[in-house]
Symmetry: C2
Subunit: 152 residues, 2 copies
DNA sequence: ATTTACTCTATCGTTTCAATAGACTAAATC
DNA sequence: GATTTAGTCTATTGAAACGATAGAGTAAAT
C-alpha cells in the first residue's frame, strides 16, 4: 500500500502537470483542488523540490512548477523517491539491491524468483508511464464515459 | 516492500510444503533450516494456524503441518492475510475496497486507473502461484543451473 | 515597506515493526 | 501418573514510520 504522502504527491504532480506551461501553482491552490491537508502538502512539495522534481518561486506570482515537462517524468521515478524500491524484497530490487541475510542460495530461492516476477511487472508499468500519459488516459476515460452516457 | 514477518512466513510455508506428507515439522527445525529467529517464527506460525493455513500437534512427535496440500495454497492468499490487500491504493482493491475521501471522481482518476493496472498485474501473478508452483520453479531453476554448469 | 508565499525545524500522538520474555498448557512416552 | 517435549498465549519493549500540526523565518514582488 502507498502511504498517503505518496498518493498526495502523485495527485499534486498530476495537477502541476495539467497546468504545465501556465505559470506556477500555489500550494493552497493545489491543496484545495485535490483536497489535501495544506500544511502536509507543503512538506511533500518541499521534498519533491529538494529531489529536483519541482521548482518554486516565492512572493507574489510565486508557487510551484514542474522542473521538466510531464512527458519526461515517470511515476516510477517519483514513487522510488518517496517510497523506496518498487521491489517487494530487497534481493530483487534493481535500484536498491540488498542480500537477504538468512538466504542460503539466492539463485534458487523460490520466493525470490516469484517476487522478481512481481517487481518486473510493477516496474514495467510504473517506469513506462509518465504524468503526461496519466493525464491522457484520464481524458480518454472521461471521453469514453461521456460516449457511453450519450449512447444510452 | 514485504515485512520480514511476511518473508519469514513464506519461507516457513515453503519448507512445510516441501515436507508435506512426511509428518509435522518442529518450529525449531524450520527456524534452523530457514535461519529465522525462533521466537518470532512461533508468533508467525501461530497466526497462520489461527487463520486456518496450518495445523499443529503438541508433545513428542508434534509440530506444524500444512492444513491443505501445497498446490491448493496460493501465495496471494497468504500475503493478503499477513499484509492486507495487494492493491497499492484502497480504491483499487477487490478484496478490501475503500473510497479515497479526497477523490472527486473515482471513475476518471488517473492515479487510480494506473494503480488498478499495477494491482491487476500483481494479483494475476500472486493469486495464480501456489506453493507447489514455487517449489517446482525453484527445482527447475536448480536443474537449469546445473545443466548450465555442466555445459561450460 | 509591506504583502505574499514558500522554507525550515520541531513536535506530537498513534501505529507498526521486529523481536524478546515468561508463564502456561496439551500430548506423548516411560 | 510423572516427566519431558513442544506448542500457546499475553505482555512488553525499543525503534522507526505515519500523518499530520505549529511557528518562526526568509525571499521576492509590488
Amino acid at each position: 500500500m502507498l502511504s498517503h504522502k505518496s498518493k498526495y504527491a502523485l495527485k499534486a504532480l498530476l495537477a502541476l502537470s495539467e497546468e504545465y506551461g501556465n505559470g506556477p501553482l500555489l500550494i493552497a491552490e493545489i491543496a484545495a483542488r485535490e483536497r489535501i491537508p495544506k500544511r502536509f502538502l507543503e512538506l511533500i512539495l518541499l521534498e519533491l523540490k529538494n529531489q529536483g522534481v519541482l521548482r518554486s518561486r516565492k512572493g507574489k506570482g510565486g508557487g510551484y512548477v514542474l522542473n521538466k515537462p510531464p512527458d519526461l517524468l515517470s511515476v516510477g521515478h517519483v514513487l522510488r523517491m518517496l517510497e523506496g524500491p518498487l521491489a517487494p524484497l530487497p534481493c530483487v530490487s534493481k535500484t536498491a539491491y540488498e542480500k537477504c541475510v538468512e538466504c542460503h542460495d539466492e539463485r534458487t530461492c523460490g520466493i525470490r524468483l516469484l517476487m522478481k516476477e512481481v517487481r518486473d511487472a510493477t516496474a514495467a508499468i510504473l517506469d513506462s508511464t509518465t504524468f503526461a500519459d496519466v493525464i491522457n488516459r484520464s481524458r480518454a476515460n472521461r471521453r469514453g464515459e461521456r460516449a457511453l452516457t450519450y449512447s444510452i
